[in-house]
């Protein structure tokens, strides 16, 4: 902080005190002004920014404590230091309780005064820096990559908004590639824990012992190769969120350990005896039928009920085809930017193929298809032949009648335009009357 930017206001009815302190702070290079009573001080508060106020406790008219109250009502960030003639403990305690930063007794030790001012300014700088970082985090995390406005995905987002500010355990369910981790991130980023880490554990990718060490950490020498003490993901998630992906794949022993740590928020590192506490929120995800796994005995019933508190089901892409075009354009922009290519859009045939595909690999498959298409495309548009072969084979081998394709395409265009008949007719290159006929013919109804 530049000293010229620091404003100090001295409020005292004694001229000699105002002069001495003003001079002292002026020699430091601070911007300093003084006021001989509380009313004048309040006036100066309106006209300038102040970091610190030194206020005499005893003044005619409004006293220092009353002035402190008035300042704190409107300017919480100003550090008010109370000056007292005598070290009266009760008055000093009252001043501190009422929000004063500190109190000093007259005469003031110059060394103490210098350190006090330095300390206040350092704290104010840290608070400012903290706010700047928080703003940066909010800006970075504010835009989630959840694309789509189909009723299905809007329902999911409603649930995300509802549960995010709470500490409730969330179970995200959905097929592979539907974006379970994105939903977990969206919940974390909208929660008060967003300034702390979101720690992901892929439970399906590890063996029993490795997962145990990954979750709880280990002490040095606890097993062959454990050369150092290592913190586990549960410990690292302290203050934040622990995202347990593919929780359905956890072995029975780790299920038991996990249940205990979720319930008590306490654990021990592998090979350790120290009980460690960690404050974390749990979000789980699975593509398995956990109810069936409970019936089979491969998943503990108590853990199931513990983690299945607030289930969110992400629909597969085939049941929200209205989002395919938006997602395709989003990924197109993402990869054209990344590859520095100039591809403007999709040909009608390409879009028809994208809409007609069943997307068994969901959004992940769509993303990969667009990435590939951007790589192979040489012109301004993505053509049907740029799409992966298996997709085209699947769409042509489906053996659907022309009428089925027409029905589906009209349905999708209507969904995309929000049932705007004129725009839909224009996209379909037919007149409005024909479109009404088709709607009637296929029995299409607006989904409100």
């Amino acid at each position: 902080m530049n000293k010229n930017d620091v404003g100090i206001l001295v409020v005292d009815d004694e001229l000699i005190v105002r002069e001495s302190l003003s001079k002292w702070f002026a020699e430091e290079g601070y911007r300093v002004e003084s006021a001989d009573n509380a009313a004048n001080a309040l006036r100066k508060l309106q006209t300038n920014n102040w970091n610190i106020m030194l206020v005499d406790i005893k003044m005619p008219g409004m006293d220092g404590i009353e002035l402190l109250h008035r300042v704190k009502e409107t300017n919480k960030h100003i550090a008010v230091v109370i000056i007292t003639a005598f070290a009266a403990v009760d008055t000093a305690v009252k001043a501190l309780k009422d929000g004063a930063y500190d109190y000093v007794t007259k005469p003031i030790d110059p060394d103490y005064l210098d350190h006090l001012i330095d300390k206040i300014l350092q704290e104010q700088e840290l608070l400012k820096e903290n706010q700047r970082l928080r703003d940066a985090v909010t800006e970075l995390t504010g835009s989630d990559e959840i694309i789509g406005d189909s009723p299905e995905i809007m329902k999911v987002m409603d649930l995300v908004h509802t549960v995010a500010p709470t500490d409730t355990t969330v179970m995200i369910r959905g097929e592979s590639g539907t974006g379970k981790e994105l939903i977990a991130r969206a919940i974390h980023n909208r929660s008060p824990r967003k300034y702390f880490p979101l720690v992901t554990v892929n439970c399906g990718a590890m063996t029993e012992t490795l997962l145990e060490s990954e979750l709880f950490g280990h002490e040095k020498g606890s097993f062959t190769g454990a050369q150092y003490r290592r913190k586990g993901k549960v410990e690292l998630a302290d203050g934040g969120t622990l995202f347990l992906d593919e929780i359905g794949n956890i072995d029975p022993k780790t299920q038991m350990d996990l249940l205990r740590v979720i319930e008590t928020k306490q654990f021990m590192r592998v090979g350790g005896s120290e009980v460690i506490s960690s404050d974390f929120r749990v979000i789980c995800a699975t593509n398995k039928n956990l109810e069936q796994a409970v019936k089979d005995g491969s998943f503990r019933e108590d853990l199931f009920y513990r983690v299945n508190v607030f289930p969110i089901c992400i629909p597969p892409l085939r049941s929200r085809k209205g989002d395919v075009a938006k997602l395709a354009h989003y990924f197109l922009e993402k990869y054209t930017k990344a590859m520095n290519k100039k591809v403007e859009g999709f040909s009608r045939d390409a879009m028809l193929a994208l809409r007609g595909h069943e997307w068994p690999g969901n959004v992940r498959e769509l993303e990969n298809a667009i990435e590939r298409a951007v790589v192979v495309s040489g012109g301004p548009m993505i053509e049907k032949e740029h799409l992966p072969l298996q997709m085209l084979v699947a769409s042509t081998a489906s053996g659907r009648r022309l009428e089925d394709v027409e029905h589906r395409y009209i349905e999708e265009v209507l969904a995309e335009t929000g049932w705007n008949i004129s725009r839909s007719a224009s996209i379909l290159d037919i007149d409005r009357v024909t479109l009404y006929h088709k709607i009637q013919k296929f029995g299409l109804k607006r989904n409100r």
Partner: protein, 189 residues
């Protein structure tokens, strides 16, 4: 500033004042001398505090001085800058003690070497150290008379020091930033 004059106050030892003159000449490139005769300090004594009021002494040294109430920097027209030197303890009314006080941008300063004596801290006497400390504080206060404010660089003579250990840590020269500010002021006067 064209010259520096050291004014003995009370029982200040003339040889101590004489011994810092070369350093002042070196620092500001102007002649420095000790005034003959001493100003008595009794009228500045505060019986309750057992100390001498530095602000009042400053007004005595520079009678036309109007002290800044808003931290504004004065602009001195005087060619001679006076530094009163005493071995008695000084205070500014709101502070417990000061090593010195200057009129920021004015033409007068006052310094005390009372607290520079090692005996105060249970150490053997060391007159060289007293002179070394006095030299730093006098250059520092004269820096204030040129309008310089405290410097954040610890080695710079304009770095604030409110106890002797801190004073011993800093140097007796201006850092390049303060040196250029000082040169600008000296040339503009």
């Amino acid at each position: 500033m064209k010259a520096i004059e050291l004014q003995p106050l009370g029982d200040a030892e003339p040889d101590v004042l004489e011994s810092i003159c070369p350093a002042l000449q070196d620092a500001f490139k102007v002649p420095a001398k000790v005034r003959s005769g001493s100003i008595p300090l009794s009228s500045f004594y505060d019986v309750q505090r057992g100390q001498y009021n530095s602000t009042a002494i400053l007004h005595q040294l520079s009678p036309f001085l109007s002290m800044p109430r808003t931290g504004a920097i004065l602009r001195s027209n005087s060619d001679i800058h006076i530094v009163g030197v005493t071995q008695r303890d000084l205070f500014m009314p709101i502070l417990t003690y000061v090593f010195g006080e200057a009129a920021l941008g004015g033409d007068a300063a006052v310094v005390s070497y009372h607290r520079f004596r090692n005996e105060l801290y249970g150490l053997p006497p060391n007159k060289d150290l007293i002179i070394e400390r006095l030299r730093k504080v006098t250059i520092h206060e004269l820096g204030h008379t040129l309008g310089l404010v405290h410097c954040t660089l610890q080695y710079c003579v304009m770095h604030a020091a409110s106890y002797v250990e801190e004073l011993d840590l800093k140097g007796h020269e201006f850092c390049p930033f303060c040196r250029s500010a000082e040169a600008r002021v000296l040339h503009s006067i």
